[in-house]
Symmetry: C2
Subunit: 144 residues, 2 copies
């Protein structure tokens, strides 16, 4: 995991710095818990040396660009992130209490709400579904 991400960075011409390693490590350790930039910063400050927040933001962006990190914005003005190595389409079940998230690949909501979630003991209290794309008019305009 750590290695494969570093390899991916290296293969795209990015340098492997101590800071980068540490930031990746923080996400690997977090497993499926969502981390905000601030949380990453604090984890690193506690477990390793200090890394500037701006460095963390820059590397989070980098990791998103190379496709190993996914952003999840809830409604609280703090972006959260987690590693996402698979290319398969999937969604996340996020615990609003502890921040832990799990991946599910069976997309339709009906499956989710009924069996899938109950099967793992998750108590859904709310779900957000936004479908982004182009409406009829904008689809037409973009063709012109």
């Amino acid at each position: 995991m750590q290695d494969s991400i570093e390899h991916k960075l290296k293969s795209q011409g990015y340098k492997i710095t101590a800071q980068r390693k540490t930031i990746i490590k923080a996400f690997v350790k977090a497993k499926n818990h969502l981390l905000s930039a601030e949380k990453v910063y604090e984890w690193i400050k506690e477990h390793e040396r200090n890394i500037d927040l701006s460095t963390i933001y820059r590397n989070i962006e980098l990791m998103m660009n190379i496709g190993v990190l996914k952003k999840i914005s809830l409604d609280n003005h703090v972006d959260q992130y987690k590693l996402s190595v698979t290319n398969e389409h999937h969604h996340h079940i996020v615990c609003v209490s502890c921040g832990k998230s799990e991946i599910f690949k069976e997309c339709p909501v009906s499956l989710i709400e009924k069996s899938l979630i109950n099967k793992i003991g998750f108590t859904p209290i709310e779900h957000k579904l936004e479908i982004l794309g182009y409406c009829q008019e904008c689809t037409r305009k973009s063709r012109e």
Copy 2:
């Protein structure tokens, strides 16, 4: 619409001020387009008198609290809002190009992605689905 919202405010002991009326009007006029606080501010500045941004924020929060406004956070650090009078469970299809949104009540994603969306000419490019609730552990803890 305008009246029913004002009535709801009044019935809960809030005063009907000129500013409040105008803010509601902006959302009513916007129909199903999402509006950010800034957009509301600009619309009002253009069509009516000036209202301070803080007043707009305070009233947006108020309207969310009484359940007539819904917040939709996309990934761009700008909260957007739209009137939501129905109590029925529903989701939104949001055009990333023009900001127009539509409600759909048939929830399962499979329906959405297949027929429903194509039926209305919407071109989905991405969809966000977050299910919020409590994971197994937190569910257990909350029972204790």
